[in-house]
């Protein structure tokens, strides 16, 4: 009876229902008619004409459903019902030997449709203490950090921190590599270079002070090496500008912990005064001798400059590799970090020399301005998460990432950098549509296998994801 009101049950209805129950079933239609007639007359008499429109009349309650108690005063009926329940309880236990269920059973949504309402996302970051601030060049600053309790940060060489800075009320998240050697007792630091119009890098360069707190996630990332003292290897590294930071960490760690390994670094910068870690590299070179070769390449070189000149293009790189006499011996590992055109050029140059792709590791830092934000759906979307054999539905609000919504719902999700840079939050999309911020760290192969990153992924339709290996 969609759309029809049910009329209030009145005296006549109850009388009719009583009669219908008392008299033989054959009489029921008669009684039913009598009830309607009586009602009509009564309503007319009291000045209420039936509605002239079809479908507007209230439907009378069906005779057999008329509740005989309904004309009694409400309070009285409630007492009566309560007494009825009491009696049922007693007879149940004493006569039928049935206890009420000790458990509270509530109707649950169908399996797999348990939906958590969106709640506030728990803070993902933790505060680190700034213990020292050292200016490296005119526009780069090193920030030394410890955990809030003063203990040293745990990390692997080459990993980065996601740093959250609130600027004008807006949260900005950026990745900064830890540039220190990964050894006990070595203070940990990140190095932040000013970027033209870069909000966070300028903010940090201008304002960071000893004693401040920095909200971070991580360390994260797989651009790293495992130092082993027995190793004897040659690492070739190509860095451009602030791309030196993870490279510095790796090369110093390796040179200090692996006595027989060596490193060749091709390092491009705009000019001599822009070279981050210039003195540190020179000092290290004095210490380890020939095991470290640093080849500076300058875009604006002074007249008397004898080293490489120009941007790190493919030609320049090939020239430097030749000049340094680097022959690929099939074992060397290559580490690249710098601006996108440099990385592209390096890949091409190495490929041309027959270096297998699996020996080339790279770290991409994209400028936030280049990132393409993926806008999520404009409505809340349902995302089913299966994890450890359990299914859980969450509501992802517009503006939320899947990761944020899942954490808010109390689901233990894997993640580390929360900015699409490390792959820790990778899950498989089993149905639906999820869009991610680009670029991110997923490879083409991973994309083809329908992997998505929850930390930068937003649903565009109802979707299902599978958390693997949890």
């Amino acid at each position: 009876m969609v759309g029809k009101r049910q009329a209030r049950v009145g005296r006549f209805d109850v009388a009719a229902a009583l009669a219908a129950r008392a008299l033989p079933g054959a009489m029921t239609p008669l009684i039913e008619q009598a009830r309607l007639d009586a009602k009509m007359i009564l309503e007319r008499a009291s000045g209420r004409a039936p509605s002239p429109l079809i479908g507007e009349q209230a439907e009378p309650a069906p005779l057999r459903e008329v509740d005989l108690l309904s004309i009694l005063p409400r309070a009285f009926v409630e007492k009566l019902r309560s007494a009825e329940r009491d009696v049922r309880m007693l007879t149940g236990r004493l006569i039928l030997g049935k206890n009420p269920s000790p458990l509270i059973e509530r109707s649950r949504p169908a399996a797999g449709a348990v939906v958590s309402l969106p709640r506030k996302t728990p803070a993902m970051t933790r505060p680190l203490k700034v213990t020292d601030v050292i200016r490296e060049t005119d526009d780069a600053v090193s920030i030394y950090l410890t955990e809030a309790d003063g203990s040293a940060l745990e990390f692997r060489p080459g990993q980065f921190l996601s740093v959250d800075v609130i600027i004008d009320g807006e949260r900005c998240r950026r990745a900064y590599s830890l540039a220190s050697a990964c050894m006990a007792g070595t203070p940990r630091h990140i190095t932040v270079k000013r970027i033209a119009n870069g909000r966070v890098s300028n903010h940090l360069n201008d304002t960071i002070r000893v004693g401040d707190e920095l909200a971070v996630l991580g360390p994260s990332g797989n651009f790293t090496v495992e130092p082993r003292p027995v190793n004897e290897r040659h690492l070739v590294m190509i860095a451009g500008g602030s791309g030196i930071t993870p490279i510095m960490s790796i090369l110093e760690t390796i040179l200090r912990l692996e006595d027989r390994s060596r490193v060749t670094l091709i390092y491009g910068n705009r000019s001599w005064k822009d070279v981050i870690f210039r003195d540190r590299l020179a000092a290290l070179r004095d210490e380890v001798g020939d095991r470290l070769i640093v080849d500076h390449v300058l875009e604006h070189a002074p007249e008397d400059w004898s080293g490489g000149r120009g941007l790190l293009t493919r030609d320049v790189l090939e020239g430097r590799l030749d000049a340094l006499g680097i022959q690929d011996d099939g074992l060397q590992r290559y580490f690249l970090c710098g601006p996108t055109p440099m990385m592209q050029a390096a890949h091409e140059a190495l490929q041309a020399r027959g270096v297998a792709a699996n020996r080339v590791a790279e770290e991409r830092f994209t400028r936030p301005e280049e990132r393409e934000g993926a806008k999520g759906s404009s409505e809340a979307e349902l995302v089913m998460i299966s994890r450890c054999g359990h299914e859980h539905g969450i509501q992802v609000e517009p503006g939320q990432t899947i990761l944020e919504a899942a954490l808010a719902a109390g689901i233990d999700m894997p993640f580390s950098c929360a900015m699409g840079g490390c792959g820790a939050c990778r899950v498989r999309l089993t149905s639906g549509d999820v869009r991610m911020e680009e670029p991110n760290c997923l490879s083409r192969a991973e994309l083809e296998q329908r992997y998505v990153l929850t930390c930068v992924g937003r649903p565009h339709a109802q979707s299902s994801i599978l958390v693997e290996g949890a």
Binding site: E78, R85, D86, M89, L90, R93, L94, G97, N99, P100, S101, P102, L103, I104, R106, S116, R119, K120, P122, C388, L407, G410, I411, D412, M413
Partner: protein, 393 residues
């Protein structure tokens, strides 16, 4: 006792049906103070006989207290004002607990309750052998049961705190009371969320707990509400929370309890402040005696009757008698600790508010509770101290 003999001679199936009623009648006939009996009996019938809490519909309880207004807004109780300030400063948000932690009730490394909580050997002696998995499940059932009772108790506390806020005659007390209402609401929130999203198992309210809540919600006298809620039920809660806090290895629950205990410590403190002077100076002797007996009855109810019968009904109804189950639970190490922690908190508070006169002492002594007489009352003990004490134990 006569009825025990009668019970023993009944066929098993008949016994199972009538045992709860016999218990209820025994309980009521043991009450010696006629006034107490008169005020508690209707609640006893509603809770124990009619099991109103388990009828599967919302329970509607009339309440008969007077709402006390004061249009002059006096600064009438500096201690309560101080408590109000502290309560405001110590507010916390249930969302901030580490809800991301995965809870597996059957995990043996981070058990919600330790293995030794129940005396499984004792069960074995009674002819019930449980497999390893069953033991773990029983343990986690008892944990769910306890937490469910906490939740039901918190619902009672929420409404009682609201009533008490209406009825109390100190204006500073009313302000303080408003924070307690918020606290209790938050407790309902976090316990429910824990049970609902982590344990997925919710037990019905225990009949005896229902009786206590029913009695104090319906009582028209504000001080009885206070006594029931702020001293007795909060004492029970502190005992139970403290025990579980001490024993659990489950990090989310531990953190949850740590936060809740700090709130509850304030609540009991408030009860002590409000009742101390009132009981000492405002009440006639017979009125005070009645409160004293009332508190004693409720204490016994909590000690003797808070025994996971709902778990019994789920697991052992056809294998053990209720009496055997009651013995088993009473003797289990976990419940022994629980009783101890509870009375360690409760008895000094009763002393402090003047409900442990020489007249009643022998009764407490017989119940083995006098050894807690010299402990610190809530007035002398902050939530932080309580937590530190539990951590050290």
């Amino acid at each position: 006792m006569l009825s025990d003999k009668v019970l023993d001679n009944l066929p098993q199936e008949v016994r199972r049906r009538v045992e709860p009623y016999v218990e209820a009648v025994q309980l009521m006939t043991q009450t010696s103070n006629a006034k107490v009996l008169r005020s508690m009996a209707p609640s006893g019938i509603r809770g124990l006989i009619l099991q109103r809490g388990k009828q599967g519909v919302p329970t509607k309880m009339p309440s008969h207290h007077r709402v006390y207004f004061d249009w002059t807004y006096p600064n009438d109780h500096p201690d309560m004002r101080e408590l109000y300030t502290r309560a405001k400063e110590q507010q916390w948000n249930g969302d901030d607990l580490p809800w991301h932690i995965d809870v597996d009730p059957e995990n043996t490394e981070k058990p919600i309750m330790p293995r030794q909580f129940m005396a499984f050997d004792d069960l074995r002696d009674r002819g019930i052998r449980l497999t390893d998995l069953e033991e773990r499940r029983l343990n986690s059932s008892v944990a769910s049961w306890m937490l469910s009772q906490f939740l039901h108790g918190e619902q009672g506390a929420l409404f009682a705190a609201a009533q008490v806020t209406e009825a109390v005659q100190f204006f500073d007390g009313k302000l303080y009371g408003s924070t307690q209402v918020v606290d209790e609401g938050r407790h309902v929130e976090v316990f429910h969320r824990y049970l609902d999203t982590k344990l997925n198992k919710l037990y019905q309210i225990n009949d005896n707990l229902f009786v206590i809540i029913d009695a104090l919600i319906q009582d028209s006298r504000w001080d009885v509400k206070f006594l029931g809620m702020q001293i007795m039920v909060e004492g029970l809660a502190l005992g139970a929370f403290g025990t579980l806090y001490q024993m659990t290895k489950e990090p989310l629950l531990k953190e949850l309890l740590r936060m809740v205990i700090q709130d509850e410590a304030r609540h009991v403190h408030y009860g002590v402040l409000a009742l101390r002077d009132h009981f000492r100076h405002e009440l006639s002797d017979s009125e005070r005696r009645e409160r004293e007996d009332w508190a004693f009855e409720v204490a016994l109810l909590m000690r003797n009757r808070f025994l996971s019968f709902e778990v019994y009904e789920e697991w052992f109804e056809h294998k053990l008698t209720r009496k055997e189950w009651a013995e088993f639970v009473t003797n289990s190490p976990g419940f022994a600790v629980f009783r101890q922690v509870m009375f360690k908190r409760l008895v000094p508070n009763l002393r402090e508010i003047g409900l442990l006169s020489d007249r009643i002492k022998p009764h407490y002594d017989r119940a083995g509770l006098m050894k807690y007489f010299d402990g610190q009352s809530a007035r002398e003990l902050s939530g932080d101290q309580m937590i530190a004490e539990l951590d050290a134990a």
